[in-house]
């Protein structure tokens, strides 16, 4: 049978009990599980993609969120669902009268894993590094703050001066993950901002310290006992995040106990399989990850509203959600997740080929009968996007419209999407949570300020832009909610996209894993709160 560390530990524990105390000193094992009070334990997570870098500033994706959340800390931290922001490295902040300067008070008792005390200088270095590298979360900050505009006002006070007032800067603050500036600077090679160092090493304050790392395998973290937030009675002594590319293998491994947890966005068939095995608990949470088909509103025939109306009525929402997704997801009528403030209360478009046909006739009356072949881009390896494209192709064929499906890996598709010239007519994909604010969805996808790189829809409507812009600068949430609601409603009326569902998160864990604290930002991989029961 498979021998794993999970089982190995149990064995080891029992072996340890038999070995005279004197011999223990020579053993390299951590004395895990020996502490009294049921604390401690080891958690093994199987991830669907590789942890090929540990650098917290070069990537900002869900696939590699675990290393960022567990090794590093941000100024604030997102927890729970619906997500709320709690003070973390910073205890509080204030915004200047003109809305430009954000001043954060930092804790004075935070230490990096090497024992160095964290100061405002580290925060300055970290943000400058993000702006300099222009990757990962850095790209969120580049539009709002220039290099050199972050200052250490005091040893534990840091101030950011923005280019213009921003309502969303506050919700981005958890993404400022702080690195140990002294350690990183000491390891800079040819002005690489320590990239070569941080790719394989950790220089953070986070809840776990790096004990083993192999990009082909994953990483192991050990509890950072001195973490400033302290530890309760129950915690994990060790976490391992392992790369297991094959879904089937992850599922089997979880059922056999090789792993304790998996990523929570499994196909419904898999969730069902896990549930029926009786060996696994599946936590269910409504997430904020909207699956939609982005449409190129700037290219004929999709620049015509009648044509788009035909499109939004040509997708079999119910068939897709109830059969393929087996009812495991909730219909989401607009681009804003239904469980987020600002989402308008509208009914989702229905699958109705008759209606689609009448819209199409209206379009033809105006533009003639000739309709060119449409192109749908799908994400290679993401079968849901393939299935959606296939359904769309089939429905449109019934309307007499020919569709070509082109598949490409995500990096290729996302590059194509960023230019109106190369953006396919339609691309099904998920808009995930990078920060919890309506701007993350509606602003970035339909606001002119984000064109063309993030507003890939080529959707430009003044009515919408006015509202989105205003919502970016005012801070009153009720007022902002109203603005987002109006903008989103208009986008819905314009049928600017095909919005399908909001993902539910089905976090599968072995039954002994307790206190998984799911948050749409961390996707249940923030392990500082969890523990494994004996």
């Amino acid at each position: 049978m498979t021998s794993t560390k999970t089982f190995g530990n149990v064995d080891r524990r029992s072996i340890l009990k038999m070995i005279p105390a004197a011999a223990l000193g020579t053993m390299a094992f951590p004395a895990m599980g020996m502490a009294a009070g049921g604390a401690g334990g080891r958690y093994v997570h199987a991830n669907n993609s590789a942890y090929d870098t540990l650098d917290p500033h070069t990537v900002n994706d869900v696939a590699r969120v675990a290393s960022r959340l567990n090794f590093y800390d941000g100024l604030y931290r997102w927890v729970d669902n619906p997500p709320k922001m709690i003070p973390w490295l910073a205890t509080s902040h204030e915004v200047s009268e003109d809305g430009l300067t954000w001043t954060f008070q930092l804790r004075d008792d935070v230490t990096f894993h090497d024992g160095t005390n964290m100061t405002a200088e580290d925060v300055v270095y970290s943000l400058e590094r993000m702006l300099e590298l222009k990757q990962g979360a850095g790209s969120l900050f580049i539009p709002m703050i220039d290099p050199g505009q972050t200052k250490a006002v005091d040893k534990y006070v840091v101030a950011f001066t923005l280019k213009e007032p921003s309502a969303i800067f506050g919700s981005l603050v958890p993404s400022i993950l702080v690195v140990n500036s002294k350690l990183v600077k000491a390891n800079e090679v040819n002005g690489d901002h320590g990239q070569a160092f941080l790719i394989d090493n950790v220089a953070g304050t986070g809840s776990f310290t790096l004990s083993r790392y192999d990009p082909a395998r994953g990483f192991v973290g050990k509890r950072y006992v001195e973490h400033f937030a302290g530890w309760g009675d129950n915690y994990l002594d060790e976490i391992e995040f392992r790369t297991v590319l094959e879904t089937n293998t992850r599922i089997q491994g979880l059922m056999s106990g090789d792993y304790n947890g998996l990523d929570g966005y499994l196909a419904p068939d898999q969730v069902e399989r896990l549930r029926s095995s009786g060996k696994v608990q599946v936590f269910e949470q409504e997430s904020m990850r909207v699956f939609h088909i982005a449409m190129h509103n700037g290219r004929a025939p999709l620049d015509d509203k009648n044509f788009r109306m035909a499109m939004v009525h040509a997708f079999d929402y119910d068939g897709y959600i109830n059969e393929i997704m087996q009812g495991t997801v909730a219909r989401n009528p607009t681009i804003l997740p239904g469980n987020l403030w600002g989402a308008p209360d509208v009914e989702g478009y229905s699958f109705d080929l008759e209606k689609a046909k009448s819209y199409l006739d209206a379009y033809k009356a105006e533009h003639g009968d000739e309709i060119r072949t449409l192109k749908i881009g799908t994400l290679a390896g993401f079968s849901e996007t393939e299935q959606v494209a296939s359904l769309m192709q089939n429905a449109l064929a019934q309307l007499g419209i020919k569709v070509d499906i082109e598949s490409a890996p995500w990096p290729v598709i996302s590059t194509m999407m960023q230019s109106p010239d190369t953006m396919p007519d339609m691309v099904p994909y998920w808009k995930s949570t990078y920060y919890v604010d309506p701007n993350n969805w509606v602003g970035e996808l339909y606001g002119s300020r984000y064109a063309p790189t993030r507003n890939i829809s080529a959707y430009h409507v003044d009515y919408v832009d006015e509202r989105l812009e205003k919502a970016l600068v005012i801070t009153d949430q009720d007022e902002r909610a109203k603005l987002y609601e109006e903008a989103t409603r208009r986008i819905y009326d314009d049928a600017a996209g095909i919005w399908i569902y909001n993902t539910k998160w089905y976090g599968p864990y072995t039954k002994n894993v307790k206190n998984v604290r799911f948050c749409p930002v961390g996707n249940g991989q923030d392990m500082r709160w969890s523990y494994v029961e004996d």
């Binding site: 068939d269 393929i324 799908t378 299935q387 296939s390 192709q393 089939n394 499906i405 082109e406 490409a408």
Partner: protein
Amino acid sequence: MSVLKRLLSDRAASLGAAIILGLVLVAILAPWIAPYPGDVTAFHLADRLQPPSAEHIFGTDRMGSDVFSRLLFGARITISIAVIAVGVSVAIGVPIGLLAGYYGGFPGGFLMRTSDIFLAVPQIVLAIAIAQTLGPSVENVILALSLTYWPFWARLVYAETNALKKQTFVEAALALGASDLRVMVLHILPNTASAIIVRTSIGMGATILTAAALGFLGLGAPAPTPEWGRTISEAREFLPEAWWYAAAPGLAIFLVVMGFNLLGDGLRDILDPKLRKGSR
């Protein structure tokens, strides 16, 4: 004629020929013999992942389509990939081998060095690199396979030509005033034909396997194309419950490749009497 007769008397080879004939027929007649010809692009979401039954002899897939019908249409893709890729390889490789072998010298050496570069890396690895660079589609799979497969024919024909050009009948033809082209096409090429035919038959099998592997790795045609390799990779997440989904295309690949290999073996036994019945 005698070749055909002898081929038919060899049980294994005639079985191989029968399988290939069957494949070709199935590919051509797919729209008529498939029980659900529409299922290449039509879906029945309520009937997803049904096990084999009288209605669906190989069950249904993740979209509720009939696996058997899609398999038949997949035969078209498989056979066209194999025929075109091998055809192009032969069309590139044979003239190059012929010219290089006949003239030798610097140009011949140059052509052969080029083919060596291709041969230094395993075919599938090179095909992966090319197909990845070009992007996933059937056309690019064909291109990748053609670009990586021609040196095999070039080398083969080169060696044969090199040996043949010193033979008396070639010298005789030249002495009678035949042009180089005439000698190459009418005298040398026919004598290399048996080697080419044997190689082609077995090459088809190898090409089908490589093409399926590319499809499996996601480098082939996008969904909902019923290509066999990609169907297997699609089916993977539904194992072990939906065993029929992966089993059917896997067995289809097996059968077809076996057909080409058996035929190739049989042809070699017949065309190369030296090794007859000492066959491998």
